[in-house]
Symmetry: none
Subunit: 226 residues, 2 copies
DNA sequence: ATCCCGGCTGAGCCCGATCTGAACACCGCG
DNA sequence: CGCGGTGTTCAGATCGGGCTCAGCCGGGAT
């Protein structure tokens, strides 16, 4: 999952970037509204954390522009304590959730998980695909109850695929959502990781669709229990 | 589906051509307005991606000429960031959608899908013909709920036929929409693929109209559920 | 009844897409 | 500085699918 963090305070930015990274997100940071608008326009984020008090262009305007342009990416806004009106205008502009500063990092992470879940149209907190389970909160995955030992990238790959199971996902799309901005395009890393993941979750669960990408599906005999 | 990509920047062209190809389109590329106008006039594209900043003849003029000549092919224009006026004149000239550079490939693909869907006058995201279903987003087709295992060309063929079901489609038309410019005309590939497709979806669904082409129809007993 | 022509089909070639094992580069750590 | 664990690169092996070919079939015209 890839997140855009829009925050001008350097300390807080550093801290959040660290926390989000630890939580397994690929993070891009924009220190002002201009940069934020540009990045949001350019890169395919899964979710945005947007501070409303920003230099150059303020947060609400950025959000309004994105929505006017038809972007539906879920956005969580950060407001100062007591800045009630900010919160309202933020929602009017199309925010999906908010958090007032100061807040606990944990809470931010929890809300982000909820947003991602909602945006993927998934109800329950843990993702499942046949005998495969993934709990974003604990960053833990199991096959038929057996815990899986996944590396960070393997986990992120699986997470993304589970959020988009049933549909073909191109290598390009994977690269764009697993890594932040600068990444060498023509590399076969994704293929290698798909291979490694297959060894761990069972090859049959990840189907390759020649010329298009990969698709995660429950095994033939498995019933899909939501 | 066949798309004309009009873009002068060599790097971007290569990248987009790749991405569009990956997404299953047959792509022709025109590096300048003259070539664009010629190709658009000559070949039957399903959709056009048109950069407005072009050498020789500029994009807006090309678009204007096409529209004046009565072409209704959906056109998506690419504009430079902040080139507000370009976007406006593009719309005035008859563009169906726009995207400002730089943009994300996925978004381009999504918009193209939307355009194609709109242009075929089909509301739902999935095409259906009796017990046959095709979901372009997931790149997946089913017969009576059973998923079909289709190769890339089989899928494209079926996709095109479903978008024009009920009508006779000539081999020539198929060739023109499934392949890019240079394709050996007197080849029986289409027949071969029609054959393969019949084996997978049921021969009766694809009727041969001798001397004219093929027609995709629901089976006799099937009611067409939209 | 035969012939002709368009259409159908099975087999097989060939190339590029994909996979895979192993080596290499990094990094944090003791 | 050596080590374990990760991510990335590389090169060769493998595999699948698009295309061609040659021969068969069936309908309509003569």
């Amino acid at each position: 999952m890839r997140v855009l963090l829009v925050e001008d305070d350097a300390d807080l930015s550093r801290q959040l970037k660290q926390a989000l990274g630890d939580a397994g997100y690929a993070v891009d940071h924009a220190p002002d509204g201009e940069e934020a608008h540009f990045l949001g326009d350019t890169e395919p984020y899964d979710v945005v954390v947007l501070d409303l008090g920003l230099p150059k262009i303020d947060g609400v305007s950025v959000l309004e522009r994105w929505r006017r342009d038809g972007k539906t990416t879920p956005v969580l806004i950060l407001t100062a304590r007591g800045a009630w009106s900010d919160k309202v205008s933020g929602f009017d502009a199309g925010a999906d959730d908010y958090l007032t500063k100061p807040f606990h990092t944990e809470e931010l992470l929890a809300r982000l998980r909820a947003l991602l879940r909602r945006s993927a149209g998934i109800a329950s907190a843990t993702l499942s695909c046949g005998g495969l389970r993934l709990d974003p909160k604990a960053a833990r995955a199991t096959v038929n109850g057996e815990p899986l030992r996944l590396t960070s990238l393997e986990y992120r790959l699986l997470h993304y695929m589970m959020m988009h199971q049933g549909r073909v996902i191109s290598r390009t799309e994977l690269v764009e959502h697993l890594y932040d901005q600068d990444f060498d395009r023509d590399s076969n890393t994704i293929e290698v990781f798909i291979g490694r993941l297959r060894k761990k979750v069972g090859s049959e669960r990840i189907e390759t669709v020649r010329g298009l990408g990969y698709r995660l599906t429950p095994l033939a005999g498995e019933t899909e229990a939501a």
